[in-house]
Amino acid sequence: MITRRSFLQSGAAAAAFAASARAARAETPGVTDTEIKIGQTMPYSGPASAYGVIGRTEAAYFKMINEQGGVNGRKINLLSLDDGYSPPKTVEQVRRLVEDEKVAFLFNTLGTAPNLAIRQYLNDNRIPQLFVSTGASVFSDPAHFPWTIGYNPNYQTEARIYGKHILATKPDGKIAVLYQNDGFGKEYLSGLKDALGDKSGMIVKEASYETSEPTVDSQVVTLQGSGADILIIAATPKFAAQAIRKSYDLGWNGVRYLSNVSPSIATVLKPAGLEKSKGLICAYYGKDPTDAKWKDDPGMKEWAAFCDKYLSHAEFLDANAAYAYSAAGTMLQTIKQCGADLSRDNVMKQAANIKDLELPLLLPGMRINTSPTNFSPIRQMQLASFDGQSWQLFGELLMG
């Protein structure tokens, strides 16, 4: 297996080298001496429009960089188009970006389905699809899709961290899982089973819900009835809040793990009740702007100053905006590393060559790393427990 894979890789590397020699002579679309044009799609309209803040934050970030003189003398021009979270529209907008606007590459396009819809097209045309904004693990597949690189810690990584923690702290526990019936929930479940390995029998009950259901109360009751003493809540904010409240009201005093999709104190724990949220465990990779303990943190101060100047207080508190700040910082680092050679081959090469990058809104000590075989930039997380006021980090940074 090793020989075959390394053979394939060396073949790919040789092809990439030959191509980069060609590209160095040819002009890269979207790159001039004064500008580098990049593109993305975002759901500014439609059901997922809450994520639109990510695109706005990134546009503001590059505006700031441009006001500071740009990168290596070039301004970054981000074209961010609305796709309404509809894959056919994503394909249309991405083709417009590539064929009409002639962008150099794509950055942080949002959503699992939209990114899946454009992946083949971008890989066929050798256009980098950088740091896609989704937690699905399928985007970290350099062997099959060498022009697509992920960004978010994927759901499997996170679930594996929980699985390992359970094995280390409660090896005789009985686990109940509440999950959303979609890609997110299912990846979570598979990551958990993966980490538990031959002890996956510890999962005594699984219950799923649809996002259209008004509450998950009945699922929580069923899960408690199984006699489990560990509850894993793989739910989006509204349902996570319901599950936290209901499990507390039932007097279920098992260990409760909460997915990183819903750790926000303002939008999840307060609605659920801070007292009822005590003891929750969550895996973290970014600093929560709504958590008062980061008030004097230099990274958080930088974020606050940025929001004051370019955005507003609403974005300062928004975890999605904070996420975008980190993603844009990763993009900036990649462009910096490219130096004068902004060919698509070199951009892809540098995106897969980030070493120990620390960012202001990532947890202290966390580093972003990529390599030609590792297309999952964020793989570390740290566990935190909720003390009724804020999340208290404990233990070491963990790899999923």
Binding site: A59, D82, S86, P87, P88, E92, L116, Q120, D182, G183
Partner: protein, 326 residues
Amino acid sequence: MSPSPAPRTLLTLAVFAAALVFPFLASGYHLYQGAQVLILAIALLGLNLLTGFNGQISLGHGAFFAIGGYGAAILTAKLGVPYFVAIPLASLVCFGAGFLFGFPALRFGGLYLALATFALAVATPQILAYRGFDAWTGGSSGVSLMKPYAPFALPLTTDQWLYLVCLISAALLYFAARNLVVSRIGRALIALRDQPVAAETMGVNAALLKTTCFGMSALYAGVAGGLSALAVGFVSPESFGLALSLSFLVGIVVGGLASLGGVLFGALFIEFVPNLADQMSVTFGESAKALPGAIYGVLLILAMAVMPAGVAGALRAVVRRTVHSR
């Protein structure tokens, strides 16, 4: 019906000729957009037969579009059926589904039918993501399919070929619809819409006609869905959300109810106005990036205020006025 038959035929032929030349002048990206317009036009033809001519309101045609899309995707990607067989097969399935849905629809009139079909549109994305079907539908990851190459070594790009496939399908389905509405059956459909009691007294079989009309309409949506899957190269539950069904209704109203030519304008509207709204939102500054939905709404209200009978109705009025002033 102001233009006399001869100019109307000439106009239709002129539009078709222009559409035929388009793929040899436009870029791949514009061809993709052109194919999207044709696909939407096919779906709108179907919905207009049902809502415009027969008076049955459907807010759930996205569901039939989805069946066509997933049908074509599963047949080609998982079972290896060629696309030119898969799309007709998938649309026949849609005819069956529409015909069957037509029976409960008989018991609902007007707004109640709108609500029943609305439920269909709401349920579709979730049914597609249902775990039990994962092996076929790919769950929320959807199904990817290969784009077709032009056959017989024709010197056409994939984009050109796809566009032409959509154009030929749209033209055939347009003429089929045209012939249907001017026939005895078409008159019966209109009579059932305007004077149901009188129509039944005259011996029109309301149950059979209405259910068949529902089936035909679903078949059109199915063809459109199948072609869409082919053109996009990917289907997922997100491709067939509630907004799709609603946009179809917007399309036939903006184009003009009970106007077959109007569907082209309706399709152009739902394809391009959201893009226009996105671009306009940028001109209002960075913070207005969140506003395309609102701008789209304003443009829609403006369109309906200026052209209450849709684009087709407005054109008819202009023609009538020029003819009278002569």
